[in-house]
């Protein structure tokens, strides 16, 4: 597979569990040798998409291919070409780190002689060499997580699926994992990762699809998406709700979208943060309004969601929650 071909093709995939629609005609494509990020809150359907692509679940409708092989009709061929690190550290607590990796190597049908050196190499690489012969139940959460990712790499899969790979990792392990993903991609591996963190998608992915209730609601390169969704978020905290209401009224005059208020906090987004911030502070000052707190930050998944859907990026747990007005409007 040359770089530039499509490694993963997903067309109109649907999957429901009883009355819950997990995938509602999701579409996307991943170019070989790139990182594609599925970004969305809990319950958006990211994990279901990964499970269908890794042949664990059969979709109800639509089509998906991995390296040209249909995930339903040619599931076996797909399994020879993929690696998966799921949301939970799927390693056997009673086996040692080494035994876990060797088991995966065997079940991935690797040639016998190459399993042990590969396992040793990965344990070294993930900083687990010292713990290699200890049962995994003695590992810390971060160590288990690293072993889980290592297990996904044993057979050197050309396509790698990582479902929220950095959830539960400390900063150091997270950075190490990010570096490793970049190396794999430099070597030609295709990576599909899911994340709830815009920062992670931004730092790693060549393209991002924002997923909501089983559909892609926005797709593009990180810079395209950020240009669309506002670069900078400004959060102004007033000491009293009455002041916040007044400030909201003042600022609704010139913000690109109407400012979002939550209690005493007002949130605005802008593509030109510094200049916009000065304008905001001048207008507030002119009305005799002094912010109690001031925050300037890059947009989070929640901001992206608010812009795209008018809702906060909360898992949709119940119909009441789904129908509830956005928090900022209360």
């Amino acid at each position: 597979m040359a770089k530039g071909d499509s490694a993963i093709t997903v067309e109109g995939l649907t999957k429901r569990f009883g009355s819950v629609v997990a995938l509602d005609g999701i579409d996307f494509g991943v170019t070989t040798g790139t990182v594609f990020g599925l970004l969305g809150p809990n319950g958006a359907g990211k994990t279901t998409a990964i499970r269908v692509l890794t042949t664990i679940l059969t979709p109800d409708g639509g089509r998906a291919e991995v390296l040209g092989h249909d995930v339903v009709r040619e599931a076996e061929a797909v399994r020879y070409r993929i690696g998966l690190a799921g949301q939970f550290a799927a390693v056997d607590p009673n086996l040692t780190g080494h035994e876990n990796l060797r088991l995966v190597g065997r079940l991935a049908q690797m040639p016998r002689g190459s399993i042990r050196p590969r396992s040793e190499e990965l344990l070294e690489r993930f900083g687990l060499a010292d713990a290699a012969d200890r049962p995994v139940r003695t590992y810390s959460g971060g160590m288990r997580r690293r072993l889980d990712v290592a297990a996904a790499l044993v057979q050197r899969p050309p396509v790698l699926f990582l479902d929220e790979p950095t959830t539960g990792l400390d900063l150091h392990s997270r950075n190490a994992l990010w570096a490793m993903i970049r190396e794999l991609v430099a070597d030609g591996t295709t990576v599909l990762l899911t994340t709830q963190y815009l920062e992670e998608a931004d730092r790693l992915a060549h393209r991002i699809a924002v997923v909501d209730v089983g559909r892609v609601i926005a797709e593009g390169t990180p810079s395209e998406l950020k240009a669309r969704l506002g670069h900078t978020v400004i959060e102004i905290g007033m000491s009293q709700e009455a002041d916040a209401l007044r400030a909201q009224a003042v600022l609704s005059g010139f913000a690109s979208g109407s400012p979002d208020r939550e209690g005493t906090t007002i949130r605005l987004a802008s593509g030109d943060g510094p200049r916009f911030l000065m304008e905001v502070l001048r207008s507030l000052d002119a009305q005799g309004l002094a912010p109690a707190t001031l925050g300037v930050r890059e947009p989070s998944l929640d901001d992206v969601f608010l812009t795209l859907t008018g809702r906060h990026a909360e898992p949709v747990a119940s119909p009441e929650k789904q129908a509830a007005p956005i928090r900022g409007a209360r």
Partner: protein, 272 residues
């Protein structure tokens, strides 16, 4: 990982005979993995041995006196074949718990994304549990012989009886494989298994002759698989006509496997 020098040849896809060989190899890998668990967590083995040992002592010394008057052989000789059968029934809970644990931990998800034989996980589990049964059975035999159990026929027929019990145990582990996958949680698996097990073990001829039970219960107790298998083992070990009971037991074993293995495999394909 560009700096690595180790070249990994791509895995080869399997077809035809190699596929069958692959299924065997995957099953061995999975069985090996499950047996390591018994070595690393010896409590699992200890507890599956303690229960039958307590039953041997309890029934031999506490209840035995009350039952023995109606028997033509010493009670302990009547009891041990029943003990062998019941220990495999209780042991089968382990199959359910093991699979439920793997399901809950996400391990089954990983296995299903790997190009391994679909039968490997369940076959590996049931075979490892068969090995555990061999071990427990050997220990309990020693205890039985120590408290006075004697084979009236010969060693060969005794071993045939043990083999029959192991076959019965293997059939049962497929039923409990299904239970474990269906409930998907180790604690629930334990709770769900008990109502299946209790009537099979206690409304049977495993510990006491069924003649003293009420008629409606006798109808069940006479023909259910635990009784039939216990009677078959008794005939093999203590003498008497063996053919009918052994055939009935084999029919139960075949029937249970034919029914439960496809259901368990189907459940495995769907479970998540």
């Amino acid at each position: 990982m560009s700096q690595t020098a180790i070249a990994i040849p791509p895995p080869t896809e399997r077809h035809g005979l190699r596929r069958l060989g692959g299924a065997v190899s995957d099953t061995i890998a999975m069985a090996g993995r499950n047996l390591i668990t018994y070595r690393r967590v010896p409590q699992l083995l200890v507890f599956s041995t303690i229960q039958p040992v307590i039953f041997v002592l309890l029934f031999r010394y506490v209840f035995g006196g009350a039952v023995s008057s109606s028997l033509s052989v010493p009670y302990v000789d009547y009891l041990m074949p029943g003990i062998f059968v019941q220990l495999t029934v209780f042991g089968a809970i382990g199959t359910a718990i093991g699979l439920a644990t793997d399901l809950k931990s996400g391990l089954l998800e990983r296995f299903r994304s790997l190009p391994m034989a679909r039968s490997g996980v369940l076959a590996g589990r049931t075979i490892a549990d068969l090995a555990r049964n061999v071990f427990v059975m050997a220990l309990v035999s020693v205890v039985g012989f120590a408290v006075g159990f004697r084979v009236h026929t010969n060693a060969l027929l005794f071993l045939a009886g043990i083999a029959l019990v192991l076959m019965f145990a293997y059939a049962l582990s497929w039923v409990f494989a299904f239970v474990g996958l269906a409930v998907g949680d180790p604690e629930t698996a334990q709770a769900a298994a008990f109502p299946i097990i209790a009537p099979l073990v206690f409304a049977s001829s495993a510990f006491v002759p069924v003649e003293t039970m009420p008629g409606w219960l006798q109808a069940f107790a006479d023909y259910q698989p635990v009784s039939v298998t216990a009677s078959a083992v008794r005939a093999l070990v203590l003498g008497g006509p063996t053919t009918s009971y052994v055939l009935q037991s084999l029919a139960w074993i075949a029937g249970i496997i034919i029914l439960s293995a496809p259901i368990a495999v189907r459940r495995y394909r769907r479970a998540l």
